[in-house]
């Protein structure tokens, strides 16, 4: 029980998107630090692949509630940008966006189809 008589489970249930946003942002930050420890090129490849994962997630939610998921995907990008100390931040944003679009369009046009739960 938290202050004000609110249960922790209730708080998590009502604000799950914010919690996941924060966790994913931390994950993005950690991945970015790890990727940039090699080179900027590896950092760019990893952010593009992460964007493709984001595109898959957004496509999966196409006809359902999308906004919290978009916020979560943006959370990863914010964490990644904070953690990247090699390479241009502009290129990272562009590559992430391209990854999302590429993955989304591949699914939309029916070139690839995979398991959804």
């Amino acid at each position: 029980m938290l202050r004000g008589g609110i249960k922790l489970s209730e708080l998590l249930f009502k604000n799950w998107a914010e919690f996941v946003f924060f966790i994913i942002m931390v994950v993005g930050f950690a991945v970015s630090i790890w990727a940039s420890s090699y080179s900027a090129a590896i950092s760019y490849i990893v952010v593009f692949l992460s964007g493709m994962m984001g595109g898959r997630l957004l496509y999966e939610r196409k006809h359902r509630l999308t906004f919290p998921y978009a916020i979560i995907v943006i959370g990863f990008l914010i964490g990644y940008l904070i953690g990247s100390y090699y390479g241009s931040k502009k290129v990272i944003v562009i590559l992430f966006g391209l990854g999302v679009l590429f993955s989304y369009q591949l699914r939309k046009k029916g070139y690839i189809r995979d398991v959804f739960f």
């Binding site: 991945v31 692949l49 493709m52 994962m53 690839i112």
Partner: protein
């Protein structure tokens, strides 16, 4: 004899891969082969396209053959019990394996290609107890693929006694790793189907495959390794029943 003729007929009719499956398999093989051969693009730190392409080609052959054996055995088993299996790739797993291989510089390779679904062949299920699609059947289909993969590694380990080859060594390593990754109870991987199908089956298959993976990686004979793994599997299976399952059903 009638069962064999029936199975042969079902294989003839339903075994073929659909165009979507072939496309998905090609993508999964190309990505997994890239992950598997990531550290083999040259000597030491020196990059070489020629050596890399050669190793990548070898990795494609290994991964392609291993995936085909795994999926084919599952498919034949599922046809035997009146279902048609459909394989689908898991983009999330494939992308994760690519990211991990870049982040660890090839030290960790994840093999998360995809999972399967089954279609109910109404006519061929007639007379079966539990007529519809059920978790137990799914678990059995999943575990046959994992067993096929570990037996495939054992077969090549036995062949390795007569023909020493680095390609065979890689194939054994890949199949052992693939069998271990298949055990993870994470949807859509095979381990999840087995886990939800039957915890007892999962306990036995996990113990058996883990023991077989360790023993096949050592220098002992293949027959002894498989036999020992079977006994280890049975012992751990019984222990799991006594200490967990029996108590869990008590409530």
């Amino acid at each position: 004899m009638a069962e064999v003729v029936d199975l042969a007929d079902k294989i003839k009719r339903y075994f073929m891969f659909t165009p979507l499956e072939i496309r998905s398999l090609i993508i999964a093989v190309l990505i997994t082969a890239f992950v598997f051969s990531f550290r083999e693009w040259g000597y030491g730190d020196n990059f070489s396209l020629r050596i890399g392409a050669f190793n990548y080609f070898n990795a494609i052959l290994i991964v392609g053959l291993s995936f085909l054996v795994h999926i084919s055995i599952q498919r034949i088993w599922s046809l035997g019990i009146g279902y048609r299996q459909e394989w689908k790739m898991w983009t999330f797993g494939l992308l994760l394996s690519l990211i991990m291989v870049f982040l660890t510089n090839g030290a960790i390779w994840l093999i998360l290609p995809g999972g399967f679904f089954v279609h109910h062949l109404a006519g061929h299920r007639l007379g079966w107890f539990r007529y519809d699609i059920n978790y137990w059947a799914l678990g059995l289909i999943a575990v046959t693929g994992t067993f096929a993969t570990i037996f495939f590694a054992a077969l090549f380990k036995a062949l390795g006694v007569f023909v020493a080859n680095s390609l065979i060594e890689k194939l054994i390593t890949f199949n052992i790793a693939y069998a271990l990754y298949s055990l993870i109870p994470l949807p859509p991987l095979d381990g999840s189907r087995t886990f939800y199908g039957s915890r007892m089956l999962y306990a036995f298959s996990t113990s058996f495959i883990l023991a077989a993976a360790i023993l096949l990686s050592s220098s002992i004979g293949v027959g002894i390794a498989l036999l020992s793994s079977f006994f280890i599997g049975v012992v751990l299976w019984v222990l799991y029943y006594i200490f967990f399952e029996n108590a869990a059903w008590g409530y």
